[in-house]
């Protein structure tokens, strides 16, 4: 293990993450070149919860790994068997717990491992989006995309794109708003 590795105490809290300096990145010559979105000095690093179906999208994200396709370290993936398992409350829970964005990924229409699960997701999603809009939650915070098992690059691009959009939008205030709300009651 390298001496210069940070200890837990040295690690920034998530809120501090944006301050990771660029030169730390540049020092790692053995890694693939990183693209713009992550950790640029002073920029905000959003936290995205990704709900990925096991058969297409999770495999696609795995492929991004095996192909060493770099993308922003903003996303944390939670595996579900099918995008149809994603209860709208999962999305709400993630936002309430402080996620700046939620990315839902499933198989492309017609390719669902369970024949039609993604169609159910597709139909449920607009209802959720309508509710989120009514709650005043910005459109860019929740996104549904199709990623196949061979689309590692697409997954990486999606994460980078969403990271950039969320960065433009700024941190979600849902968690603090909820806390204040609770405190007031």
């Amino acid at each position: 293990m390298n001496e210069d590795r940070p200890t837990v105490a040295d690690l920034p809290t998530v809120a501090d993450l944006p301050t990771v300096a660029d030169d730390q990145t540049a020092a790692r010559v053995d890694r693939p070149a990183r693209r713009a979105p992550t950790g640029a000095a002073g920029s905000f690093q959003p936290r995205i919860v990704g709900f990925l179906c096991n058969w297409c999208s999770y495999a696609g994200a795995d492929l991004a790994g095996t192909s060493r396709t770099p993308y922003a370290a903003s996303v944390r993936v939670i595996r579900v068997m099918c995008s149809a398992r994603i209860d709208p409350t999962f999305v709400l829970k993630a936002l309430a717990e402080g996620a700046d964005g939620v990315l839902i990924c499933g198989c492309h229409p017609g390719d669902c491992h369970y024949s039609e699960g993604n169609y159910k997701t597709m139909r449920r999603y607009p209802l959720l989006k309508r509710m989120l809009a009514d709650l005043g939650i910005e459109d860019a915070r929740v996104r549904l995309e199709w990623v196949s098992a061979s689309e590692g690059q697409r997954f990486a691009d999606l994460v980078d794109d969403m990271t950039q959009r969320l960065r433009a939008l700024g941190p979600s205030r849902i968690k603090t708003a909820l806390a204040t709300d609770h405190a007031e009651r």
Partner: protein
């Protein structure tokens, strides 16, 4: 719930993870999490000592939950489930955190990657506390196998299984067996006859008591799960084998049976061996295919050789023949991959030409000579001894073919920007053979959907693991063999076919198979009998008990997608191993 005793094992994966993620920092973070009794890191958790470490800890330190932070669960979840089982722990008390594919391999910044790895481990620790012991179900294994495709791979797999005494249904779309190999004359590098390789196999398949071949037939649907599939096959005329059974003449022609009546087959396993199709040379304009009549494809040349008449369209013996490699392969425009067999096939043509047309000048225009494989380098050396002119062209720097002037003693001239000499060289040709590459069949997406497997960006079927599990797929019980998975030569196709058959024989030998204990269940107390779930289930696995006004999941039919769980307005359906509590814990964990 009592405080669980969780063991956290952080894999360094050699340097794959440790190069970016500070594994010690992850261990220290894990140690501080509630319920964690042991946290440690090791070079390779999946190795025998790594697994033994987990087993010993479970026994000695009385662990009741295990988190392994390593590669994707799609890679090693079964490995670690087996390990915890060895220590008499329920295998569903395991949770994995994917800190390789989703972390160290995609993030370059050590601080960020370590932070993310800690988040993923925290999520796994929080989740695993909610895990429940589940008992896997044992189901009967149907010993019959469905083989899709009657090329060399399909034939070989079918015979391997049938010779072991098990029933095989061989479904071939064309009206004859043999696949693409039936269109080939000799095979490289030993120059033995393709016909000889096929004839005996086709003969045996047609007469085998345990093989039922369906020619001109197509699978319409495949339902069920490993050990218990039901396939519907559309068969021309309704009888089993079609009339024409001999190896085909040219090109896989789709069987145009008049009336197709479906047959229902019960099978335990499926082997997909649907092969490839050749690249369409007319897609490349610079070679003049389709315009210059003496520019032909490799398969058209095979036909000439098989008919024993190598001649130009004018009916003359060619004095100059040029063989052009990598047509459709290794190009940015068409297919980036190498089709693997064309280089050796091109050398085979040089041999065939030299013996069939004495005095013929053969030029071999290639990008790189790929002579991997047993006997191939020798074959390359022997070919250079039969006076073949080898010229190297650059990738994406295509040779240009044009018609010769009336005074020239040849039909065409090829301009090659030769890489080794650095010169522009013009060579004569009466016949140009384009070595067309392999590509995924036009119906591959349909086949993939039908049997529930995935395709890569080029359309090839995706294996469970490219190195360690090359013939299995992510759908248990469905195997792939031969060129439907990627370009490969005959020995590799045959090896895969036999490997797939061996995998199936192993399952048959055990008699029954363990299927995941993960399925949905309905709390009948909470069920309001609204029947929303009934319609949602793609497998009709939810029955409605009218007398009790409650729905019930038929667990044997449930495939655990969870669509009903998310839809139940009463929250009465639980997805075992993917419960709301478990996923909420994970959400809290990644965001904490």
């Amino acid at each position: 719930m009592d405080q669980p005793r969780i063991g956290v094992y952080v894999c360094a994966c050699g340097t794959n993870i440790a190069k970016v993620v500070d594994c010690d920092a992850v261990v220290r973070a894990a140690e501080g999490l509630p319920g964690v009794a042991v946290a440690t890191t090791y070079k390779y958790m999946c190795s025998t000592p790594g697994q033994e470490m987990i087993v010993a800890d479970i026994e000695e330190k009385k662990l009741d939950r295990v988190v392994v932070a390593s590669c994707s669960p799609r890679m090693h979840e079964l490995t670690f489930r087996k390990a915890v089982k060895k220590a008499s722990m329920n295998q569903y008390y395991l949770q994995m955190a994917n800190i390789r594919e989703h972390c160290s391999w995609v993030h370059g910044d050590g601080v960020e990657a370590t932070q993310k790895a800690i988040g993923l481990v925290r999520a796994a620790v929080k989740r695993v506390a909610f895990h429940e012991p589940l008992e896997s179900r044992m189901v009967a294994m149907c010993p019959n196998t469905l083989v899709l495709g009657g090329g060399i791979a399909g034939l070989t797999a079918a015979l391997e299984l049938a010779d072991a005494g098990y029933q095989v249904y061989l479904v071939e779309k064309a009206d004859h067996l043999g696949g693409n190999l039936a269109r080939v004359d000799l095979t490289a590098p030993h120059l033995d006859s393709a016909r000889d390789l096929l004839r005996e196999r086709i003969h045996r398949v047609m007469g085998h008591p345990h093989v039922e071949p369906f020619l001109g037939a197509e699978v319409q649907s495949l339902e069920g799960y490993v050990g218990n599939f039901t396939a519907t096959v559309a068969v021309p005329g309704g009888n089993g084998a079609g009339p024409a059974a001999a190896e085909g003449d040219d090109g896989p022609t789709d069987g145009g049976g008049a009336t197709r009546s479906p047959r229902t087959l019960e099978v335990g396993s499926v082997i997909v061996a649907t092969g490839y199709r050749e690249f369409d040379a007319s897609r490349i304009t610079h070679f003049g295919y389709g315009k210059l009549p003496n520019v032909i494809t490799s398969f058209e040349f095979e036909r000439m050789v098989r008919e024993g008449r190598i001649e130009t369209v004018e009916g003359r013996q060619p004095q100059y023949v040029a063989i052009l490699h990598c047509v459709g392969s290794r190009s940015q425009e068409f297919h980036a991959y190498c089709s693997r067999v064309c280089c050796m096939t091109a050398l085979k043509y040089a041999h065939e030409l030299k013996s069939a047309v004495p005095g013929c000048y053969v030029s071999d225009v290639y990008i790189d000579m790929h002579a991997f494989g047993k006997g191939c380098e020798d074959f390359y050396r022997r070919s250079s001894e039969v006076k073949t002119l080898f010229l190297m062209y650059g990738k994406n720097d295509y040779p240009v073919i044009r018609k010769a002037e009336p005074g020239d003693d040849c039909g065409m001239l090829i301009e090659v920007s030769e890489q080794l000499s650095g010169e522009l060289i013009e060579i004569p040709a009466d016949l140009v053979i384009l070595m067309v590459g392999m590509e995924a069949r036009e119906d591959s997406a349909e086949v993939a959907r039908l049997v529930g497997i995935s395709q890569d960006k080029d359309g090839w079927f995706i294996e469970s693991h490219p190195k360690l599990d090359p013939v299995a797929t992510t759908t248990e019980g469905v195997f792939i063999a031969g060129t439907c998975a990627a370009p490969k030569d005959i020995p590799d196709s045959v090896a895969q076919a036999r490997a797939a058959a061996a995998r199936i024989l192993g399952k048959i030998a055990r008699g029954s198979i363990e299927v995941d204990a993960v399925f949905a269940e309905i709390d009948e107390e909470a069920c309001s009998g609204c029947r929303i779930c009934n319609e949602l289930c793609p497998y009709s696995a939810i029955e409605y008990k009218a007398d009790e006004k409650r729905s019930r999941v038929i667990s044997a039919l449930c495939k655990a997608c969870g669509a009903c769980v998310a839809a139940c307005p009463s929250g009465a359906i639980r997805a075992r191993h993917f419960t709301d509590e478990q996923i909420f814990a994970e959400i809290v964990g990644v965001l904490a």
